[in-house]
Amino acid sequence: MSAILSADDLNDFISPGVACIKPVETLPAAASEPSNPYEVTTEDKVAATEAKLQAAQISLTDCLACSGCVTSAEAVLVSLQSHQEVLTVLDSDDSVGSSTGSLQDVGAGDDATVPNKRKRIFVASISPQTRASLAAAMGKSTKEISHMIDRLLLESITSNEKRGFDYVLDTAPLLSVCLHLAARELAASLANASNHSNSDSAPKLPILTSECPGFVCYLEKTHPAVLPHLSRLKSPQALLGTLLKSLLPKYVGNDVDIYHVAVMPCFDKKLEASRAELTDATWKDVGDITPTRDVDCVITTRELLQLAVSRDVDFSTLSPKPLPNKQLPPIPALQKLLLNARDTQDERSLGLQAGTSGGYLVSIMQELQLMHAGSKIIEKKGRNSDVVEFILLAADGETEILKMARFYGFRNIQNLVRKLKPAKLRMLPGAAARRVVGKAGRTPTARAGASSSSGSEYCYAEVMACPGGCTNGGGQLKPDDSFIVDSVAQATASAAVALRSQAKAWLNRVDEAYFSADEDITGDHGVALGARSQIVGIERFLEEWASDSGVLLEKLAYTTYRAVESNVGKIDGEMSTLQAAELAQKVGGGW
């Protein structure tokens, strides 16, 4: 989905079946000014009156509530969540203390050290895929890219009396929290299934990853019957958002606004950030006040570089050395989590088989493996490179304890979703055939041939909308991107542009950078997972978060989904053939 949805390509994914209907619906009724039909008027005057008409505004929330198109119109995405928007908010903040943007030495939980004049705190969180894309383009390591991003957001853009960010975080530590919670969620669903419990406390098996907002959006709009399978866990982006909004005010003061920008490989993450389910209204009592979003703005990898350009910074020339006095947000629970990740040297790395999208499946399987001594994980290639099956084999080497699979890309999602839909939805209702010689037709017996149990043989499916997973997200740098500066990278990239068969070579470069991050960052705050000690650390973090914020973990870390009813073409009940024909003429040039 996201691969198609990019600012450079004004083309909606899957298709706006019908052009966006929202502007028509939400346009305020034109004020009917009393006019004298006999009055002579001038063109200027007419133009002035016309200009008064308000431009229709569509919010991303409107897009999510509408089934008109699977994702929204490009203009909406760009105007509401973009690097320009980030800069506008940064510029509008007049409470700049010092122009360096550096912070006082903030001790954990020490309220007194908060910058006193500051009304707003700007936090950026960076996805690992973003670092990988930039690393490939700049010919640097992901660690160096980390430091360059720090320098860009904390230092470079703050010059010239302009304000920069206060904190830059990595989403990886929060990813490890998500991965652990995902394993817990699956364990609960498996327990429900073995007790034959119909309890609604956990998703139906197989659980589908909810990290990909494109996939979530697609299910909500197109296959609501499959929603009970969706993991209820928030994504790392959303989890970090909730963490910052629920805890940071406790340590910096309640009168301080927190503006959280996430840098993601994906355009659909902007849609995720706009979800009503991901605001403070879902975890705290906000009363009548307008809810604030947990993530205020999402920009893509490419937009991060555009942001640099807008502030006259050449990203590629920034120093790859660490910033000497980089601060972490003064949240003790988060600081301990980061420290824990740093101290835990995991002997088992997620490795290449984890895939490019956070490693949900492999991490969950490794965590469940801890409960089965001597078991081992078998990887089996599927029918194409975006389908991989994993089997947890018992110590006897034969018994299959459980099976999971990875489905990346739209075509593979289709086959998964089709098998998960209730059987009757796969049949057209009332299908009948009759003989012509006046004999009444009989309803044919629908054979359930296609409803083989292949959908439920897995207990978990890691699903991502983009072929190749998140490193190939729509917001990443493309091979023909002018931002690619490294000469080796340029060579690969131009080969990819010239020859389709080389396209994968570019993606492989990004993937390499992504996987090398595991080694790079382990000494910093890595994604090393699975080890018991780390799980203990994560559990401790979750307890501390819940107690410090006074909110139940269920409200902080989980979210909900809702089916979006189709309303297109149902404005006046059934769309008449005439209307349909007219619409077809306009949009698709006839039948």
Binding site: I4, N11, I14, S15, G17, V70, T222, R383, N384, S385, D386, F410, R411, N412, Q414, N415, R418, R426, M427, L428, G430, A431, A432, A433, R434, R435, V436, K439, G441, R442, P444, T445, A446, R447, G449, A450, S452, P467, L499, R500, S501, A584, V587, G588, G589, G590, W591
Partner: protein, 383 residues
């Protein structure tokens, strides 16, 4: 030569979109706006069965699965955005359309002829415009107003898997057609182009784009000819064009080590426009069909005309005959029927074999046209 009207099927209540002859039986199926598929006998032009109830909107396109044994399989593409797969078991395959010996009782016989709705393939977001089975019958291609072309693989047991979702077109995709021998798929679109696809290492990819038409390309048809590959296209720009595949330049460069990884080579094919058929249509051409038997091409469209073209040696006065290796060929109109459906537009023309009353093929070929008037006309080319 002239096209002679030799019959027509009973009038249908609504617009007929297209007609599809059975790959080896004297049957033809039609798709129409009244959400029904009608199957007619080509022996006596009578209605054999009506299949309805499966789709919520107009059935736009229909295709018989080739190479089926002991049963008939139909795919229907509908404006309700779904594709249906229908099965009819016919144990007496050779006999044809239903007049079977009375060795089984009546109950069983009827059962044999019952069309059963087997599978619905959904996934398209908008009207399905065309469906087509590949030559071997293992793949089904569908295309839609949602700008995508999907390829489904028959996994057996009425189980179909999506193996490709091709999003190369920028507009409504009007038609899909498979190469008669190769696993090569073509699609035509409102974006004025024809695209060709084949399987790469891991996925289907667009391997050629045919540009030249200046408006919607409504219809495409491959030539059935072993030694070269050609494609005819018909468009809203009132032209029908012939495209051919240029042989790949042999790039045996010795400097490069031979590629041992399968399929990593460049998959691109080189297609270019060969000729434009004589321009006689005065409105949109909705349909083009290249006869597999005679190599004749028929077109029809919004102006109500049916036109038949033949490729002839084009050495004319002043030109040296035999210039060029293959000799110069050109297309000539050999028959033309104005107002073939009265004032109504013609949605499709299809060539099909001619059968006698006993159900054996005979010399000659029929041309079926379907119109907005609900009529399917049957023409024969006479000298």
């Amino acid at each position: 030569m002239a096209l002679k009207l030799v019959g027509s099927f009973p009038v249908q209540p609504d617009r007929v979109w297209c007609a599809a002859p059975h790959p080896h039986l004297p049957l033809v199926a039609t798709a129409s706006t009244d959400r029904a598929v009608r199957i007619y006998s080509l022996r006596d032009f009578s209605l054999v069965s009506t299949i309805e109830g499966g789709h919520k909107r107009s059935i736009r396109s229909i295709s018989w699965k080739p190479n089926t044994k002991g049963e008939n399989v139909l795919a229907t593409g509908s404006f309700d955005s779904s594709t249906g797969i229908w099965h009819q078991e016919h144990r007496h395959a050779a006999g044809g359309d239903g007049e079977e010996p009375l060795e089984s009782n009546a109950e069983e016989r009827e059962e044999d002829e019952e069309w059963r709705f087997a599978v619905v393939l959904d996934g398209h977001d908008s009207e399905v415009k065309s469906v087509a089975w590949s030559a071997g019958g293992s793949f089904l291609a569908t295309c839609s107003r949602d700008k995508t072309v999907w390829i489904w693989e028959d996994m057996g047991n009425e189980n179909y898997e999506t193996i490709a979702v091709l999003q190369d077109h920028s507009q409504d995709v009007k038609m899909v057609a498979w190469h008669p021998e190769e696993e090569l798929l073509a699609s035509s679109s409102y974006d004025d182009t024809v695209r060709l696809y084949k399987e790469d290492v891991d996925d289907w990819v667009c391997c050629a784009v045919l540009t030249g038409h200046t408006s919607t390309v409504w219809s495409i048809s491959f030539e059935k000819n072993g030694h070269q590959s050609r494609l005819a296209s018909a468009s809203d720009d009132q032209t029908a064009r012939i495209w051919h595949r240029k042989p790949k330049a042999k790039e045996e460069s010795s400097t490069q080590p031979p590629s041992i990884i399968k399929g990593t080579g460049d998959e691109t094919e080189n297609w270019e426009e060969q000729s434009c058929l004589p321009k006689v249509h005065t409105r949109t051409i909705y349909s083009v069909d290249w006869s597999k038997k005679t190599g004749l091409i028929a077109t029809a469209g919004g102006d109500g005309q049916i036109v038949v073209y033949q490729e002839v040696d084009g050495a004319k006065d002043g030109e040296q005959p035999g210039a060029g290796a293959e000799g110069r060929k050109e297309w000539k109109i050999i028959a033309q029927v104005p107002a073939a459906h009265g004032v109504y537009e013609i949605n499709s023309v299809t060539w099909c074999p001619k059968w006698d009353k006993k159900g054996t093929t005979v010399d000659g070929e029929l041309l079926l046209s379907t119109g907005d008037d609900g009529v399917v006309n049957i023409f024969e080319l006479s000298l």
